[in-house]
Structure formats: C-alpha cells, structure tokens
C-alpha cells in the first residue's frame, strides 16, 4: 500500500519462442528466489478501458483479475504513465514510468463503465512469476479472446512468450535499474531483455 508515495515501474521486455521457453524457465528456476517452491503459475484476464475526451488526451486503465483463483484475490486496477523522457538516453538501463496499482472489489468493470470508460480490448495472460529480491520476472503467453467476454475461447497471439522484468519502487531509486540489467545479462542468449520504446512500436 503506497499511500501518497508515487511509485515508478522499471521495466525490461523481451520474448522467447515457445520452443525455447522450457530452457528459459529452467534457468529462471535456478536464478530466482523461489528455488524450493518453484515458480508461481498464474492465469489472468486483463481488460483495458479507455476514457476519451474531446479536449483531453485519453486515459487508459487496466483491470486485471486472476482466473485461476477468482474468489481469493482482489481485482487489480492499474494505471501506467508514458515512459519518462530520456528513453533514448544510454545511461538509463531500463524504461521508467509512473504506475499506480490499486486493489479493488470485483465490481470495478461496472464502476469504470459508469464513469464513462469504454472497454477497448481484453486478453488472457497465462504464465509464471519468479522473484529475485525486489525484481519480478514474468514469462507469459498472451491470448486473444475470440468471443468478447468469454475467457474459454482463446487463441494465442504468437508463437512466443512475453518476458518482462520489472521493479516497482518509490521514485528516484535508479540503482535498481542496474541490478535489473545485471539479472537480464544472465538470461542471455535465451532472451534479450531491453528497454522498448513503446511510441516507436505504436508508429509501426
């Protein structure tokens, strides 16, 4: 619970082909803290809502819930800002953006709709979560939801798993970026984790 402190997410992203995923999971199992228990498997549904206005830039919020344990975990509502200036800056090793994570009750989708938000898209994310100190590593497969609202009919988006290395911490803790970079080095050459300029991708 962050109270009034503003939090920042440090992020490195990459992907691994399904055929090499097992090798990566094996390596992560050895590198991460959960050696004894193994990685935590998760199945999440993510719904992305957008509030558009004529004069103001649209705001995007992500509502996420665990499909595998729907009753025991709250929904997560997440706001992520755009990447901080200096994405091309070589001295910064990771992408940095503000983020707000809020645990909510399960009527959050109704609430967002009532506020004027519209569902933009949704997906199902299945994967594994590893931790190493404050670093969170997820290896996940992204699924398209073919029938809106039906999380049974799924279609994989690609033949790869998305790999994300992230740390959420109070702003100004730039040394975590170096720790992350070091950890990412140990996953080469199976996966190349880099800071990805999302704006560049949007233009493609």
């Amino acid at each position: 619970m962050s109270g009034g402190v503003s939090m920042q997410e440090y992020l490195l992203q990459g992907s691994v082909l399904d055929s090499s995923c097992e090798t990566l999971l094996h390596r992560l199992r050895g590198l991460s803290d959960n050696v004894d228990t193994g990685p935590e498997a998760f199945v999440d549904q993510e719904m992305v809502y957008i509030l558009r206005g004529s004069q103001t830039p649209p705001v995007m919020l992500r509502a996420r819930r665990a499909l595998d344990q729907p009753d025991s975990l709250p929904w997560q509502l997440r706001y992520v800002g755009t990447a901080e200036a200096g994405i091309g800056d070589k001295s910064r090793s990771t992408l940095v953006r503000t983020c707000i994570d809020v645990a909510t009750s399960d009527n959050v989708t109704t609430f967002l709709t009532d506020m004027g938000f519209r569902l933009d898209h949704e997906c199902v994310v299945k994967g594994y979560l590893f931790t190493k100190g404050c670093i969170k590593v997820t290896v996940s497969k992204i699924f398209r939801v073919t029938v809106p609202g039906n999380t049974e009919n799924l279609e994989p988006l690609s033949l790869s798993h998305l790999v994300e290395l992230s740390v959420v911490s109070p702003s100004g803790q730039d040394e975590v970026a170096d720790t992350m970079k070091l950890f990412a080095e140990q996953l080469k050459p199976i996966v190349q984790l880099e800071k990805v300029d999302h704006r560049r991708l949007q233009q493609v």
């Binding site: 709709t113 569902l119 997906c123 992204i142 609202g149 690609s158 998305l162």
Partner: protein
C-alpha cells in the same frame, strides 16, 4: 634421571590426551550433524568438518613426532587383568562405548600391527613384486600408460563433439524472435491485435465504441453477455472485499 623421564612421559601423555579428546569431540559433532541435519546439510559445511578433522589429525601427528615427546615406541602397554565383568569406570571414561575389558575386545583396541592373516598376505605380495625384473616392470608401466592415453583421447574427442553439437544447435535455432517481441509488447501496451474488431464475426472498426454504449445507458436486459453478470457484481463486490474486517 628416571624421574625426569617419567615427568616428561606424563606431560607428553597429557598433551596427547587433550588432542585426542579434541579429535573425538569434532568427530562427535560431525556425526551429530550427519544424523540430525542430513536433510538440510550443505556440502560446504561437510567440507568444513573434514578440514577440521584433518587439521586436528595433523597436529596430533606433529605432537607425536616432537623431540620433547619421549619415544613411545620404546614403551610397552601391558594389560594386567582381563575380566569378563563389566567395569563401570571404564564405561564412563569411554562414554559407554567399551563396557567390559575382556579378552574379546582387548586385541582389537590395543592392536599395533595388522592381524597375522593380513600380515602374511602382505608379505607374499611384497615378495612377488620383488621377483619382477626392472625391465619387465618398465614394460608393464608403459603398457598401462599407453592404455590410459588412448582412453583419454577418446574421451576428449567425444566431449568436443558434444560441445560443438550443443553450440551448433543453439546457434542455428534462435531462442527468440524480434518480430514476436514487437508484436507481444505492442499487444500488451496498446492492444494491438487484441481489439475485438479483428474477429471475423464483427466488422467495422467502430465496434468497440458502439457496442458497449447500450449497456451504459440502460443496465436492463440488453443484448449480449454482460448485463446479468454486472447486476450480481454490484452485490458481491461489496461483500467480498479483503479489507472488510
């Protein structure tokens, strides 16, 4: 003169007893560790124990070799009485390991040489090796060396093959694809490829905007899937929150 020697012997034995006691304690601790912690035991800690034991053994050895130590080889240890009855004093000093000082255990505990059987077998082996001429021995050594060399070469070749195979397989099939990385990140960042308009059953890019609006204005029995679940959501949402109590 004799008194001085006796004193020396006394002091030497005392020192020996102290060292042996140390050794015994470490063996004891090591055994305890093996018995009680074998599930969580780390190999580094086992190595530590071994290092301690070997250190203590070598100090013991040095002590025996010391000049001040009277020549123990010249002394005789003579058991005067053997008894089949249990000896409580012995039992306490040996921590319950040797309860009786009898003819059964004494040969084992006080032995300074091999058993006669072993001794005779050792003797025959020595004489056998002595009969061998230096030339014949040299030949045999060479044969063994040749054999070892050949085996070593074979093993090295096999391991090189294996290494190159592994690196070749890694090099030829990349573990990740740049295009997939971009596609996946674009999807999770702004929904590229995830928007419902892509599904063939619905057409037109405006579907996401136009579709949810009827739900918002009237939460009644609108077409589609959502309204019924929304109603129940309101109620259960209020009661299932983790911070309720």
């Amino acid at each position: 003169m004799q008194q001085r020697e006796e004193k020396q012997l006394e002091a030497g034995l005392d020192a020996l007893i102290v060292r042996v006691k140390d050794l015994r304690d470490s063996i004891h601790a090591f055994l305890m560790k093996l018995e009680h912690e074998h599930q969580t035991l780390q190999w580094t800690s086992v190595l530590d124990s071994f290092a301690l034991l070997s250190g203590q053994l070598s100090t013991l050895q040095k002590l025996v070799m010391k000049e001040k130590m009277p020549s123990l080889q010249n002394l005789i240890f003579l058991p005067l009485v053997l008894s089949p009855d249990s000896d409580p004093q012995l039992e306490t000093t040996t921590e319950g390991r040797v309860p009786v000082f009898s003819h059964e255990v004494v040969p084992d505990y006080l032995r300074t040489k091999f058993e006669p059987e072993v001794e005779s077998r050792e003797k025959t082996l020595t004489t056998q090796s002595e009969r061998l001429t230096p030339e014949a021995a040299q030949k045999q050594i060479q044969q063994l060396n040749n054999l070892c060399d050949k085996l070593l070469n074979k093993l090295n070749a096999a391991s090189e093959d294996w290494d190159s195979e592994v690196s070749a397989s890694q090099g030829s099939t990349p573990a990740s694809s740049l295009a997939d990385t971009s596609a996946l990140i674009a999807a999770v960042s702004f929904g590229k490829g995830l928007k419902p308009s892509r599904t063939p059953s619905q057409s037109g890019p405006d579907t996401p905007q136009s579709q949810p609006s009827p739900q918002a204005s009237q939460a009644g029995p609108a077409p589609g899937k959502a309204p019924s679940t929304i109603k129940t959501n309101i109620r259960s949402g209020a009661s299932s929150h983790p911070y309720q109590r």
